[in-house]
Subunit: 402 residues, 2 copies
């Protein structure tokens, strides 16, 4: 059984929504990779009673808890006091901590404000965690079942302290054996359709299957327990990838990280020394914008209205192919991608109406093309238009075009 971990964030600015709690996500990822089972995140404001209650709850529920925030010098920083009440250990002045805080100010040629003394008051029995970047030292101690680690809420201080001074002691204190997460990344297919594809997939009961839709792609996740047979793992992943089919553009976690769609494309474009020109309509600049910083993109054109183009408006599939060939010649690139759409502006703006996307890619060996429907809010359609055009390029580069 994995040790159970929790994350606890303190701060009025978190609880009122003034800041987004990135610390919790970062710490979760670290703890999960180390081999903890992270069970809960909790955030509370700067109220002593709420803090004491929460620490007492966690003390009997978890094996380890990382807490951020509330270590500052001001009156609303109450963590040490709350820990003292919840644990029964009185606060004591830590002389080394005070020394370090004084030094922090001395280096900056300032005298230490009286308020900062408070930061050197730590609960008896706590182990101090030095802060090389700010005035607030962290500390760790056991309360009932749970090993608590308290760190400042400033992200870069917290991360530096966790990495340098917390990770190794956690490894020493707990018996950890991390799982292996494999992620199949796909585009152009929905979450429930993937689930249908995988209906016949038989996995060992110890393997967890999960899904997640993010704006550009759907992730299928296979979580293998520590020590799972390497060969059998590869067979499971291979089988899942085959069942989902060509929608899968990358597999992360098996042999490193392959990255998102644009990274996968970029690696192949560079390897094959291809150059690209694009002409986009529905995506209105977003296709070019997604290729930012990629030197294989040589030219980008936007047409705001398909009606302005000198093409047969009644056969956009063919028109896209003709335009792609022309663009390739005109821009002297070896690939040219054209993205057209059918439907008027009002269809595009109406979340309940679809537009039809026509993509064509001119290559040295001829033209390949794709057709899709895009639905939903206008920005969602725009993103679909850009991503599905890029996906045609990805399929060509991976030799997966029909």
């Amino acid at each position: 059984m994995k040790p159970v971990a929790e994350i606890f964030s303190q701060g009025e600015e978190v609880i009122s929504g003034q800041i987004v709690d990135h610390n919790a996500a970062w710490l979760s990822e670290q703890l999960t990779e180390l081999g903890f089972a992270v069970k809960r995140h909790t955030a509370v404001g700067d109220h002593l009673d709420d803090l004491v209650a929460l620490i007492k709850e966690i003390a009997v529920r978890a094996d380890c808890c990382i807490c951020t925030g509330g270590l500052g010098p001001t009156t609303d920083d109450l963590t040490a006091e709350a820990v003292s009440i919840a644990s029964g250990f009185p606060l004591r002045l830590d002389e080394s901590a005070l020394q370090q805080i004084r030094q922090f100010f001395a280096w900056r040629n300032r005298s230490m404000p009286e308020a900062n003394c408070k930061q050197a008051m730590l609960p008896e029995k706590a182990i101090r965690i030095d802060n090389a970047y700010g005035t607030a030292p962290g500390f760790a101690l056991k309360i009932r079942r749970c090993w608590f680690v308290f760190l400042p809420g400033v992200p870069f201080e917290m991360k530096a302290m966790f990495t340098a001074l917390v990770v190794q002691p956690l490894r020493d204190r707990f018996s950890l054996s991390p799982d292996c997460l494999i992620t199949l990344r796909s585009i152009g297919i929905g979450e429930s359709a993937i689930q249908q594809c995988l209906e016949d997939l038989v996995l060992p009961s110890s393997v967890q299957l999960g899904f997640r839709a993010v704006p550009d792609e759907v992730l299928t996740k296979l979580l293998f327990p520590a020590g799972f047979d390497e060969q059998e793992k590869r067979v499971c992943v291979q089988r899942a990838a085959e069942l989902i089919g060509d929608y899968v553009f990358a597999i992360d976690g098996l042999d490193g990280t392959q990255g998102d769609l644009i990274e996968v494309i970029s690696r192949l474009m560079r390897d094959k020394r291809h150059t690209l020109a694009v002409l986009e309509t529905a995506s209105q600049g977003l296709l070019a914008a997604k290729c930012l910083g990629r030197d294989w993109l040589r030219a980008a054109e936007i047409s705001l209205d398909t009606a302005d183009l000198d093409i047969n408006q009644h056969d956009l599939a063919n028109a896209a192919r003709v335009l792609a060939r022309q663009l390739r010649t005109r821009r002297q690139t070896n690939l040219a991608l054209v993205q057209l759409y059918a439907g008027d502006q009002s269809d595009y703006g109406d979340k309940d109406r679809a537009i039809v996307l026509y993509n064509a890619l001119a290559t040295p060996k001829g033209v390949v093309s794709s057709r899709h429907h895009a639905f939903g809010a206008i920005k969602y359609k725009q993103n679909q238009a850009a991503s599905l055009a890029l996906d045609l390029l990805r399929r060509y580069l991976q030799d997966k075009c029909l």
Copy 2:
């Protein structure tokens, strides 16, 4: 006393740190503005026991709880089941919900996968909350002390449903006397510079001042308690806006919502019947992409390399002005916006090096221009380039150009 609210997020991807919980921050802000005292955020993974335990805890601790996630069609979506166990209300098929889910697929010319049936199973006594954007309906019900609202985890579905279908029922159900939040929205100036501008601002002690940086803008927030004198409030806001200066493009909460930069611009463009052509370099399509669905944008061009343009490379400020005049003539619009940058590709890609942005706007009365430095990661620079070019247009439209 304000009613106590909590936020509860479900999902393995939150608890494992794969995604950052932006939903919790957004909902907190909404609830705080409505007049709730938000006390806790909690996130748990997709485990039935954990979900049931948490719902039972919150049911006796809070007056209202907004929960997101776990309403999808897959086997790891367990919210409805957990609610049923925690509340004792059995799950029943909601015929209207099933109808809507079927229709969602029918509109898209696809047949409904069997798995989606599950999304129409709601706890008895729950009030359904329709989802116009996806397949997962939400629902609300009272368990012991607490009014629970369950919404999907997909941010745009969650936000649309909360705004359209949850806010008014919450106002009806609870006796809320909200504080009044005024937000000054600014662009082109940092958070600490704004703080310096406001050093001499004297506010009554009951008024809270806060700041938040979001990707495109910095928000300065003034929170006035319920019943604060209207005239005095206007004086405070006016004084703050004057101290920050022309960087302020909108003030939300005083006389309704003025919206983001593109909305402010769009309203003025339509009122004045202007048309626009753009030529962009550093933003590489993002400037045009941000104008999606705005019919005053008539033409958009991208130049991937400033060196390709037939201009004096040693005087980009002037070159931008010349190109803007040419673009206005060539595209026959009454405004034309050109966005150039100095610095090579390696400067652009290096987060520790700056690029210089030159914007010029040709108008019927002549050309106005601006110059900025952009710093940070490549995508951040790209966004700055697009936003600061649009801000020149905003300043012209608001008669704030020098």
